[in-house]
């Protein structure tokens, strides 16, 4: 199986360890075999070990080490934020965050909703069963 996501200038990566855990960053330059120069609209450009990054499918078109303005403009043009939030990976992260922030009352309401939904599904299933046996 060949690799599909390459470390290249403009590759969007997810930080999976450290102070910036969970952020999306752009690989702006490669320092050596292990480290990349990484930048994002809300952080100071700095180096990160590749082991701290998980590559995504997204990539933007930039030159090596652009200034912040150009980077932000390129990110806007490629609409990375929306593309990420609509991707299945991005949606899963959003759901995880929502679940972690649920109140005790919210969890109760969700339980009631699940029971209701299961009830409706079971009714439909019973109807279908009746039709097939009849």
């Amino acid at each position: 199986m060949p690799f599909k996501r390459y470390v290249e200038i403009g590759r969007i990566a997810l930080v999976n360890y450290g102070k910036d855990y969970g952020k999306l960053v752009v690989i702006v330059d490669v320092i050596d075999q292990n480290r990349a120069l990484v930048d994002s609209p809300d952080m100071v450009r700095g180096q990160m070990n590749f082991k701290r990054l998980t590559l995504t499918d997204l990539k933007i078109d930039i030159k090596r080490v652009p200034n912040k303005k150009t980077l932000v403009a390129a990110l806007e043009a490629a609409d990375i934020k929306n593309k990420w939030d609509n991707s299945s990976w991005g949606r899963k992260l959003i759901v995880q965050k929502k679940r972690a922030s649920l109140n005790d009352f919210d969890r109760f309401k969700i339980m009631l909703a699940k029971i209701k939904k299961a009830g409706v599904v079971r009714q439909e299933l019973a109807k279908l069963k009746k039709e097939t046996t009849a």
Binding site: N103, D104, F108, K109, L112
Partner: protein
């Protein structure tokens, strides 16, 4: 006119460095006005002779000396500070009781009493918890709040919850047990009325929020996969 009470003056001799004042002894003598006090008193510093001490009342020698020296415990003048209420607990907060008869019950917080305990009510109709005192340490505060503005809780204090003192009965053997039992189970009518009064306004505000009534009626429990240190309450 009575002489004005002056607040005591601080030091009139500012420190140049710790241990060294700005003014010399003679300057300070002048600044403190000791010359004026002396002048008022005819060249001498006023002196007050000791009052003749009253002869101490004659103490009779005690009739009884204990055989062994008994150590007296040291005097302890510490005062307990009033219990600090957790910031997350405000009037109207829904609390989860963690211990006791009502463990797991979700309950509405009314106010903190002077003893530090929290005054809490079910409401009684919803989950069977009456007006009750609960310790802050045995409670989880959730972030759900109920509006408690139309409930008046002024009349409740720690004395309201003290045990009723029974009049001492003469020991009549046979009837002893039956009579005792009857008295214990009665809750006075005015306590029941207080409960109803507090709950009436509360229940109306609770029913206004969807699902809140069934939420308060249900008990809290940890299910599989719930990590208490990661849960947001």
């Amino acid at each position: 006119m009575a002489p004005k009470q002056k607040t005591p003056h601080g030091s009139r001799n500012p420190d140049l460095i710790r241990g060294i004042g700005k003014f010399s002894r003679s300057k300070m003598y002048h600044k403190r006005g000791l010359w004026a006090i002396k002048a008022k008193n005819g060249g001498v510093f006023p002196r007050h002779d000791k009052k003749p001490a009253e002869a101490p009342a004659a103490v009779k020698p005690p009739k009884f000396y204990p055989a062994d020296d008994v150590k007296k415990p040291l005097v302890n003048k510490r005062k307990a500070k009033p219990t600090k209420l957790r910031v997350s607990i405000t009037p109207g907060t829904v609390l989860i009781i963690l211990a006791g008869r009502f463990k797991g019950k979700r309950v509405v917080f009314l106010k903190q009493l002077t003893s530090g305990l929290l005054l809490v009510t079910g409401p009684f109709k919803i989950n069977g918890v009456p007006l009750r005192r609960v310790n802050q340490s045995y409670v989880i505060a959730t972030s759900t709040k109920v509006d408690i503005a139309d409930v008046s809780v002024e009349k409740f204090d720690d004395k309201y919850f003290s045990k009723q003192v029974e009049k001492k009965k003469k020991k009549g053997e046979g009837e002893f047990f039956e009579a005792e039992k009857e008295e214990k189970n009665q809750l006075s009518q005015d306590k029941k009325d207080d409960q109803k009064a507090v709950d009436a306004a509360l229940i109306k505000t609770i029913e206004a929020v969807p699902d809140l009534k069934s939420y308060l009626g249900a008990r809290f429990s940890l299910k599989a996969g719930m990590k208490p240190h990661e849960l947001v309450f």
